[in-house]
Subunit: 335 residues, 2 copies
């Protein structure tokens, strides 16, 4: 006998969830009911992962569940929010109990870590697609936005760039690394840590923020467009892990070819997606305050450039030499 | 040149949206920001439509967009909520501008009618799947739930039952009707009207409510389970449209066969899904108040039975004769 939809949901998605006092009614009715305090504003994010587009059929269900939550938490982080409640719309080809068990472990590992309660969902039959929506809270007037970067602001990123892009190349067999580096970039590709704590601290310091999901140039470009400004990036100031540094300095350029675009070395760092670090802008006079409050985290922050009045995005080396990237980011339907 | 993801979203999903004062930031940042008043509670619903499961490849994109919103609004109605904000996660095989144009028309027709603003989304490449989440508001303590039906309560439904199920049979070529009846049931199957206004009125009258998405017996069964009660349904009191009455009285039983289950005539009304009417319970002493406030709507409400202490769901004719349904509802992964 096959498992019914309702017992599927009940079994895998009701047991493990974190329970919050502000959830008045969770899974089990036509809709969930939650409470938003008067001085808080509601943040809403939604992201889908599709098999064959965002992950391959041999990606572990644990990693799929983990990543489906992580990409949404990264958006909450980029708004300076505290994540609270999640819904899961899960389209599955069949009721595969082993898959569901592992998937839900990955999902709840991250939901529980950030005290997010799963409050609803819909399970349907079809090609594997996972859509998660997360609602978070932010104090009134404190949300981070893309549109408020100002000329003279310093541009920062958390963590390091290019790890996930390199992890993808390794997973596709397009790049070979020693075991230690390969493990490191695979972990960064599949199980990145959302920068929730950093986003919350940045509410009082940053002028603008975004998460680096499509590549630094593409995502910083959204800040520049929304803020009607430009920027200069010092490419050799970009924070790189040992693995990426090794890959950049030891690889022949042709080893970094992708299917359609021949990338130069910097493109791995400037344009590959899914690092899910925060890119944010800070007034120059808040530099020391920023570096002081960020010292509490093991994750570094690095100044990579400056916002300018001129509406262009310049990439230069610290010698002043210009760098011309081959591509600006990732686009699902792009040419 | 193909259309980029961002301009796709911009073109079809930014122009037509209803603009609400309580949306502080909509599409265009990592997350939307909205305001929930202190005395209100937040309702969250999510539902997916998958091509090949919930609609066929020849369903018009307009109808797909309309229905994707309607199924969610029906959940908001069943909670007694006022719908406010929606997100759209759209997985598409390709950037088909004609499809997107028609789909968005259907989507916004219903969103705009109920003053719901589209505040965010994610567009991905893959097999056609639409997931919509709607957030609504309900005054503190006024949400309708499934768990509070009491013995002696009267059971009501809005509108009529079996229309959508008959519409599906007609669309699949399994049942033939005259043009007028065929048009009527197709409209009910593809473009049902969510019972938002009725749900709001029911906040002060009903003890429990649900929307009939999986079939009356299945959905009423959820109320009975959650409330730990039973019910008696008077089957020949169920409200039927002329089309369904015609189908029941003129069809040989074998004409209502589905692929796996041989249904008898009553099963079309008791167990076929997607009518999206409200099924709700009302204390017997509020009967006249209910019928008075419901008189403002063109859509009728009909008393179909009574909640009982005995935890079973009895179906009887008004003569007292028992009716034994062949199946209880629809289940995506059921046996």
């Amino acid at each position: 006998m096959s498992v019914s939809e309702f017992s599927l949901i009940e079994k895998y998605f009701s047991q493990q969830r974190y329970s919050r006092d502000d959830v008045l009614s969770g899974i089990g009715d036509d809709g969930a009911i939650t409470h938003v305090p008067e001085n808080m504003r509601l943040i809403t994010t939604v992201d889908s992962l599709v098999e064959g587009c965002h992950f391959t059929s041999d990606t572990s269900p644990y990693d799929v569940g983990f990543k489906a939550v992580a990409v949404n938490l990264s958006d909450i982080a980029a708004m300076g929010g505290e994540p609270c409640w999640a819904t899961l719309a899960l389209t599955l080809p069949q009721a595969d109990t082993k898959w569901l068990s592992e998937f839900s472990k990955g999902l709840f590992t991250l939901l529980n870590k950030y005290r997010v309660q799963l409050i609803g969902g819909d399970t349907t039959r079809g090609p594997l697609t996972i859509t998660i929506q997360i609602n978070g809270l932010v104090p009134e007037g404190k949300a981070l936005a893309r549109h408020s970067a100002r000329p003279g602001d310093l541009i920062y990123v958390t963590g390091s760039l290019g790890d996930a892009g390199l992890g993808l190349l390794v997973s596709e067999g397009k790049r070979h690394l020693g075991q230690q580096h390969a493990d490191y970039v695979s972990e960064k590709f599949l199980r990145h840590v959302p920068r929730i704590e950093q986003g919350i601290v940045l509410r009082d310091i940053a002028t603008a923020a975004i998460d680096v999901s499509d590549g630094l140039l593409s995502d910083l470009g959204h800040i520049l467009d929304a803020s009607q400004v430009g920027a200069k990036i010092i490419v050799d100031h970009l924070p790189l892990s040992d693995a990426v540094t090794h890959a950049l300095t030891h690889a022949p350029t042709h080893a970094l070819k992708t299917e359609t675009v021949e990338t130069n070395s910097w493109d791995l760092v400037l344009s590959s997606g899914e690092d899910y670090e925060l890119c944010f802008t800070v007034p120059a006079n808040k530099r020391s305050k920023l570096e002081e409050v960020m010292a509490q985290f093991t994750c570094p922050v690095t100044c990579i450039g400056e916002i300018q009045i001129e509406r262009e995005l310049q990439c230069v080396l610290s010698t002043g030499e210009k760098v011309q990237p081959a591509r600006s980011g990732y686009d699902h339907f792009g040419s």
